[in-house]
């Protein structure tokens, strides 16, 4: 079971499971009532095509937390689940 400190995630790189760099973590959205982690707000990398992903103000990428496979040196997300 992986447990991480939220502050240690700040500006961590996010990678899809096909090895593509998506961007760096900006913030995490949570529901305080249930304690559920809902999703991640990500600064997309300049090389990343954000076309099929959910965006906020065309600047920040929203990735549901269901897509997260694991967090170690990188945050690895499933490339299909990460799409909207």
């Amino acid at each position: 079971m992986t447990r991480v400190f939220a502050r240690s995630l700040s500006r961590k790189k996010i990678m899809s499971n096909d090895g593509k760099l998506i961007g760096t973590l900006k913030n995490i959205r949570v529901d305080f009532d249930s304690g559920q982690v809902i999703g991640m707000l990500v600064h997309p990398d300049s090389t990343f095509d954000t076309a099929s992903y959910e965006m906020e103000d065309d600047k920040v990428l929203k990735i549901p937390f269901e897509a997260v496979k694991d967090i170690k040196d990188y945050i690895v997300v499933d490339r299909y689940l990460a799409r909207k």
């Binding site: 913030n27 304690g35 559920q36 967090i71």
Partner: protein, 88 residues
């Protein structure tokens, strides 16, 4: 209430009986369970805890009853040494 996790940092933590516990320093996330595991307390009220034997203080998320301008946790009699009131 939906919010960003950085909104939690620095919030003051009180029990339901009004005892000051400390401030939110960090949050532990359970990646597999996709939920908040616990809250790391900084600036701990040293009248409540004998911190010499502890490295730090973590509050499990299940004893948190509400989060808004402050974090409110359930009052656990016996968990807090000293302090004012009826508990020892």
């Amino acid at each position: 209430m939906e919010a960003q996790i950085t909104d939690l940092f620095g919030l003051q933590i009180y029990t339901e009986k009004g005892m000051f516990i400390g401030e939110v320093e960090d949050v532990v996330i359970d990646v597999d369970g996709k939920k908040i595991d616990s809250v790391v307390v900084g600036k701990v009220n040293d009248q409540l805890f004998e911190l010499k034997n502890y490295k730090g203080l973590k509050i499990p998320y299940r004893i948190i009853s509400a989060i808004d301008d402050i974090v409110l946790i359930r009052h656990l009699p016996g968990a807090f040494a000293g302090g004012s009131g009826s508990e020892e």
